[in-house]
């Protein structure tokens, strides 16, 4: 039986582990297959106090080693279910808890199409700056209408032969700066008021079909339609709003023994330091709860 089980090993989860361990509570982090949250894909972190420039990978590893030195185990298992009798179930284990901190963060929003997951890394990508170079000289498509999508379209237009920019509306939400540049770029073909209907191919992506019926033969499909909270585990358990856990400055939830930290909390600013800050608050609130229940 753990005093505190933490789900998630991003900045929020790991910071809550530090505070929980230092408060003397028996704590474990169920960190998922990959240690760290979204930040591990960032090469230069330049807004985390104490570091002028550090990679997200190094930052997470530093914090993780701090957590481990405090005697907290970080298991690389994926939480499958949170039961109403206070257990977190993973593929091979069950962890009983007195209090729970949810720090599951955000994930990339998907189109929700067949083959999308299957072809991830086989033509479908969620990171143009990571994978773009593998499509040098080829034809690709990008889906989305925000800053990220348009910035990525411009990046891809620099290296690819042709870029289709697919957006379900006929105006963009991106800043005018990017919109003007996209319109002026002869390598980018706009497919507006269009959505991707199907992703086609055998072992890897070969083409996509749009809602108008048009088929585009492409080697790469980049999906840049924003992020959504990783809410599968908790959406039937605590009060949420669009998948974000409804909370307050104490990081409590609608369930007395469940606390929330980081990007999956309903709030206005999502930064590394606010994730860390949530982690501290959630752990101290959990600590108070544990004292009361003694």
């Amino acid at each position: 039986m753990y005093d505190v089980v933490i789900i998630g090993s991003g900045i929020a989860g790991l910071t809550s582990a530090i505070y929980s361990a230092r408060a003397g509570h028996k704590t474990i982090v169920i960190g998922g297959p990959t240690l760290g949250g979204q930040i591990i894909n960032t090469l230069h972190v330049e807004n985390y106090p104490g570091y002028k420039d550090i990679s997200g990978f190094d930052l997470i590893n530093n914090i993780a080693s701090q957590v481990k030195e405090l005697g907290v185990e970080i298991v690389s298992e994926e939480a499958k279910e949170i039961t109403s009798d206070k257990k977190v179930i993973t593929e091979n284990n069950t962890y009983s808890f007195k209090s729970l901190i949810i720090a599951t963060g955000l994930e990339n929003r998907s189109l929700g199409l067949e083959n999308e997951k299957k072809f991830l890394g086989m033509g479908v990508s969620v990171c143009a700056t990571c994978d773009g170079n593998f499509f040098r000289g080829r034809d690709v498509a990008i889906v989305g209408g925000g800053n990220t999508a348009l910035e990525d379209a411009l990046y891809l237009a620099n290296i690819c032969n042709k870029v289709y920019l697919i957006h379900r509306r006929n105006t963009f939400t991106a800043e005018k700066y990017y919109v003007d540049k996209v319109y002026a770029n002869s390598k980018i073909e706009l497919c507006l008021s269009e959505e991707v209907k199907s992703i086609n191919g055998e072992d890897s992506l070969q083409s996509i079909t749009l809602t108008s019926g048009r088929e585009l033969n492409i080697d790469g499909l980049f999906v840049a339609i924003g992020k959504v909270p990783n809410s599968k585990l908790y959406e039937n358990l605590v009060e949420t709003d669009n998948g974000y856990i409804v909370s307050n400055e104490k990081c409590t939830t609608s369930v007395p023994y469940i606390f929330v930290a980081g990007d999956c909390r309903k709030k206005s600013v999502r930064q590394l330091v606010t994730a860390a800050s949530d982690g501290a608050v959630a752990a101290l609130s959990a600590s108070k709860y544990l004292e009361r229940e003694k």
Partner: protein
Amino acid sequence: MVVLNKDNFDTEITNSKGVALVDFYADWCGPCKMLGPVLEEVEKETDAKLCKVNVDEEIDLARKFGVMSIPCLVIFKDGEQVNKSVGLKSKSEVLDLIK
């Protein structure tokens, strides 16, 4: 791990017998860095040859084997590509790939 480039690829892989695992990676890729220690562990427990390719230096090799995202593990048997796996993997998953 054997460091591969376009000059030694044929000798080490194409014209080589047995099972080989090639890790396509880049220094800027966080998940690739996490896979590094996993592969070091795997190397202690297998007879397969473990190799790595830096995709920033050897983009043509990466494209030749259809690498479209990293980390990407490509498995060869007697010089022929037999399997491919994208993303971070656990030790047991990697061992399964080269069984």
